[in-house]
């Protein structure tokens, strides 16, 4: 045995260190005891002990989304591993780079239904970008380096590495990252310059253009947001963002039309519907965006920039598909635009903006405020007003109406400050994600905008938050309903509220106290500001229980299966627009 040999657990930690990992979210168990023993002996990497492995996954996602780095999770075999499945799927859907390390029974027991054995590589094959089972200690370091490379390259995603216990105790050699290259996985970064020229020509001839931008810009990094902002201003074209893209272009810019899609703005959706040239940038034509496919932006020439060739022509056929990293492609696009001195028809553009301004005048996010009950939109507007002057605010959300109201009313001028579960829509995401964000940014103001139903799904993480004294703020829009479910039942199922009332809710103020946090409550509109101020000023974790209107609906809304120009703008619209049969089967 050569002197420089190490055991598997030491190799693992060395590889993580070389990958620049500074924190792991994890939970121990029998199969990972050798790894935990090595963690005990070192202090280069911090371990955050979560209270449920799903919490570790979402925390790693929050960490990744807010830093641009790969999030890391370590869990034991069997139940520890299976508890990560929802988080892995969430990270896959939203393209979040996470490496999940799972313990496994020793290699000679694999396949024997051994204690706490689960075929986790089999289970997670469809919900990871890639996964590995390491059977040889000498392949360990290389596999870990590969896992990080795959997780962060191209379209990012979750990668799982399954680690049998005997491999973690066996002696072997370390392979430094400099000696690892990937044989097959080499995503294309630069876009085809001829296609970029064609795209610029089409854009230069546009009369009613729109830039539809998404999470891919955030994935690419802050430079891509800068380039996008430059490009939008250079062209003077209107820009709309998906839920995943919020922050990629400043919400305060007059060229911004707000979010598009099912709960997007009137102006963004009508501009998408009526445009003659659509440029999709790092966005994937999700069904929340397109509505009824047959009527989706029927008269436009479509250009799509995406790093993943499978995103192009998946749901919507496009005229020009450019495969590459948005940062690289936008850089080239700006160069070509300038070199060709592209000058779109200013008169047509001015006409287009005139239509858009007419749509804007509908003021679609308007709501009837009240002096008696707290409107959820009001609470969020106040939250925004009272926090917008700080530049260290990070918002996570749970899933439901509150999430969509947050997307509509909280305005982001920078990328990486908004973390939400878009693709999977995972209730219980927001609290652990906020925890991960706070670990990465200890001094920042991290707020989980929550629904009372969702937050209970991972409420145990309040204990983690207490242990590490993370000053996470949980801002609950408590409507005592699974509001989003209730809204659909009201609009589509004749108001039969089957199982959507949240009976027997805990007293959130007492719950906060039980977790050594501060509990606050607002029941009237004039209490909202004080509660928000106190929440911000408290340097500990806070749960703010904001008792909002129980029956408020989230508008605008494009019912599933409808087209962009069939939007419901508010309560008055409800009766007139019956949802078609085909729409009823959609989610």
């Amino acid at each position: 045995m050569a002197d420089d040999q190490m055991n598997g657990s030491q190799i693992l930690l060395k590889a993580l260190e070389e990958q620049g990992v500074d924190v792991i979210f994890g939970y121990p168990g029998g199969a990972v005891l050798p790894i935990y023993d090595e963690i005990f002996k070192q202090d280069a990497i911090r371990h955050i002990l979560v209270r449920h492995e799903q919490g570790a996954m979402h925390a790693a996602e929050g960490y990744a989304r807010s830093t641009g780095k790969v999030g890391v999770v370590l869990v034991t075999s069997g139940p520890g591993a299976t508890n990560t499945v929802t988080g892995l799927t969430d990270a896959l859907m939203d393209s979040i780079p996470v490496v999940c390390l799972t313990g496994q029974v020793p290699t000679h027991l694999i396949g024997n239904d051994a204690f706490q054995e689960a075929d986790i590589t089999g289970i997670t094959r469809p919900c990871t970008k890639h996964n590995y089972l390491v059977k040889d200690v000498n392949a360990l370091a290389r596999t870990v380096h590969e896992a990080f490379y795959v997780a962060r390259s191209g379209r990012p995603g979750p990668v799982l590495v399954d680690l049998p216990k005997d491999v973690m105790t066996a002696m072997g050699d370390y392979t430094p990252v400099s000696r690892v290259t990937h044989r097959t996985y080499k995503p294309r970064m630069k876009g085809d310059i001829n296609l970029i020229r064609r795209a610029v020509d089409i854009m230069a001839a546009a009369k009613r253009p729109i830039l539809y931008c998404g999470g891919g810009i955030i994935n690419s990094g802050p430079a891509a947001s800068q380039l996008l902002t430059e490009f939008v201003r250079l062209t003077g074209f209107p820009c709309t963002l998906t839920v995943m893209g919020l922050g990629a272009f400043p919400a305060s810019d007059p060229l911004y039309l707000g979010m598009l899609g099912m709960h997007g703005t009137y102006e963004a959706n009508l501009a998408m519907h009526g445009c003659d040239v659509m440029v999709a940038i790092g966005a994937r034509f999700d069904d929340r965006i397109t509505g009824r496919l047959a009527d989706f932006s029927p008269n436009s020439t479509k250009i799509h920039i995406d790093i993943d060739p499978s995103s192009i022509n998946k749901n919507v056929p496009v005229d020009v598909g450019i495969v590459g990293d948005v940062g690289h492609v936008l850089e080239d696009m700006i160069k070509v635009w300038k070199a060709e001195q592209a000058s779109p028809d200013q008169k047509a553009l001015a006409e287009w903006w005139k239509s858009i301004d007419r749509w804007r005048a509908r003021d679609c996010l308007r709501y009837e405020n009240s002096t008696k009950v707290i409107k959820p939109q009001y609470a969020l507007q106040r939250l925004y007003e009272l926090t917008k002057d700080r530049d260290d605010v990070y918002i996570t959300t749970e899933v439901g109406q509150h999430q969509m109201w947050a997307a509509q009313h909280y305005r982001f001028d920078k990328p990486n400050h908004w973390m939400t579960s878009g693709g999977l829509g995972t209730m219980g995401y927001g609290l652990p994600a906020a925890m991960g964000v706070q670990v990465a940014h200890p001094k920042a103001l991290v707020i989980d905008i929550a629904g009372e139903a969702s937050v209970i799904m991972n409420i145990q993480e309040m204990s983690t938050i207490a242990q590490y004294r993370l000053p996470v703020k949980v801002f609950i829009l408590n409507n005592e309903y699974m509001g989003m479910v209730r809204q659909w039942q009201e609009l589509l199922y004749g108001g039969r509220y089957a199982e959507s009332y949240m009976d027997s809710l805990p007293d959130f103020v007492k719950l906060a106290e039980a977790f050594q946090a501060v509990g606050l409550r607002a029941t009237k509109p004039d209490e909202v500001d004080d509660v928000i101020r106190e929440m911000i000023e408290t340097d500990r974790a806070v749960i703010a229980d904001i008792r909002v209107d129980k029956l408020e609906n989230c508008f605008p809304m494009i019912p599933s299966g409808a087209a962009h120009n069939e939007m419901l703008l508010g309560p008055g619209d409800e009766a007139e627009t019956p949802v078609a049969e085909e729409g009823m089967v959609l989610v």
């Binding site: 089999g122 094959r125 890639h130 996964n131 795959v150 044989r183 996985y185 998946k314 056929p317 005229d319």
Partner: protein
């Protein structure tokens, strides 16, 4: 403004992959998970030194679906290369079948006669049975098996399609 043609067509795709555990499950899982058809799937190691396997898949779908299948296959990390043989020009495809027929008298003689026409070889024989080996494209094998049906067909084992482009170019 693009209009899509909705007609389904059959396509043969060759995929070069790292011969590692789970790679076939990834490919099959991709097809079942996304609801694509598999009409035939063959796999074997073709380069032991480099540890590469070649998978041949016969599938069908609209042009948009076929494009999606190729893009999804290319996205799998252990995949080296995806090649649409149907689109890229002429190719040869072959399948092998072992066909067991049990019969006596006139039917037995007839099965031998048919085998001769199809250039099937007898690879096993007893006084009451034959095992024929037949090589050809899928249509030829189907036709042969259909003809054997009334002649005492007992059992069929088929390899699935192997395909390769014509001409000097490698995959």
């Amino acid at each position: 403004m693009t209009t899509q043609t909705e007609t389904e067509k059959q396509t043969t795709i060759a995929v070069l992959v790292d011969n590692e555990p789970g790679v076939l499950a990834r490919v099959i899982g991709l097809f079942s998970g996304r609801g694509y058809n598999i009409e035939s799937l063959t796999v074997a190691e073709v380069d032991t030194q480099e540890g590469l396997s070649r998978i041949t898949i016969v599938t069908s779908g609209t042009p948009m679906v076929i494009e999606q299948i190729k893009a999804q296959l290319e996205r799998l990390v252990p995949v080296h290369k995806v090649c649409d043989l149907t689109m890229d020009g002429a190719y040869v495809d072959r399948e092998l079948a072992l066909v067991k027929v049990k019969s006596t008298g006139e039917a037995r003689v007839e099965s031998l006669r048919v085998a001769e026409i199809f250039r099937a070889r007898v690879v096993d024989s007893t006084s009451e049975s034959f095992v024929f080996e037949i090589v050809g494209d899928t249509g030829k094998l189907d036709a042969f098996i259909n003809l054997m049906e009334p002649l005492g067909l007992m059992d069929v084992s088929r390899t699935g399609v192997a395909a390769i482009a014509r001409g000097a170019r490698p995959l």
